[in-house]
Amino acid sequence: MTETTVDTKPGGAAKAASPGDYIALMKPRVMTLVVFTGVAGLVAAPAVMHPLMAVLAVFALAVGAGAAGALNMAYDSDIDAVMKRTRRRPVPLGLIPRSEAWTFGGVFALGAVLLMALASNYVAAGLLAFSIFFYAVIYTMWLKRSTPQNIVIGGAAGAFPPMIGWAAATGEITLDSVLLFLIIFLWTPPHSWALALYKSGDYSAAGVPMMPVAKGAKSTRRQIMGYTVLYLAATAGPLFTGLGGLAYAGAVALGGAIFFGLAVRVLMSRAGDANAAEDELYAVRAGDKAARDLFAYSIAHLSLLFAALIAEHGLGAHMAVPGL
């Protein structure tokens, strides 16, 4: 009689994984932002999709993002086990074997690209395939452990969703969709480095050359400021092409002013200079509060910008900015 077996190879599961562990493998929080910005690109595009195809395209985008997350967790399980922020993930905990995470990510990636091609077009499917490849191979396997510019270049992977949403609706890559890409691309460094400033000990222990670890906190604070200026300039782009209307202009002006103020505060602070309190994600020393505030606000600001685009194009609230 054939005996049922359990994987006892290195990295094999010691305990049964629950459906929740497989959901965690797909990085649901990242997926939320991907879906949100993808929907914004789809809604803002000057073309109307069949509603069911639009839902399926967004679903394919979400699954593709989840697949990329699973491939990332499969490859990074060794360093995830070292970092406090990531050691509760299902692969380092031994709930899901590495080999299974690879298979899970690979199968879902293929399914997502196929579904995107069927529901929309080959341009969107190609962009989705490339973004998964970029995140899993270029960022995770190559850049992340080899250069402090890892998240600058790797950030491109997270910037694709609005472009994919736009391409799903129109079948094209246009100036407006490139602008949406650029906004997220330039948003990623200040966002990620703000987190890295108060979590640098974590990255250092794992041997990941994040900017504060490789170049120091002072240099990181300066670069955050530099990328903030570039990011805020990029956010104004859609106002000149007519993509962004009055509501978007408000998010750019008011939201951008707050973003700029918080980045200046980080520049003037000593954030990242001492990292003795890293037990909890949001438990930081007073000196690091400026970095934590910028990290939290950066998510709110990006969400606000894309929410404004959805409101303007999806709810018919678009009013042209006078003089532009």
Binding site: E3, T4, V6, T8, A16, H50
Partner: protein, 58 residues
């Protein structure tokens, strides 16, 4: 059933009842996920074909 003493030294350890039921649950999930995927592909094809026929294949 094979006697534990007779197992090859490199043979994987047997599953516990909890792991066995987890494997069954996982298989059921995979089954329904596959069915769902097939339905998605079918519905997508039908909707797109219908749309293309309505527009004369343009």
């Amino acid at each position: 059933m094979t006697d534990p003493e007779d197992r090859r030294p490199d043979a994987p350890a047997p599953l516990t009842p909890e792991q066995e039921s987890a494997r069954k649950r996982r298989n059921v999930w995979i089954f329904w996920a596959l069915i769902g995927f097939i339905v998605l592909i079918f519905v997508t094809t039908v909707v797109r074909l219908t749309g293309n026929i309505a527009t004369g294949g343009a």
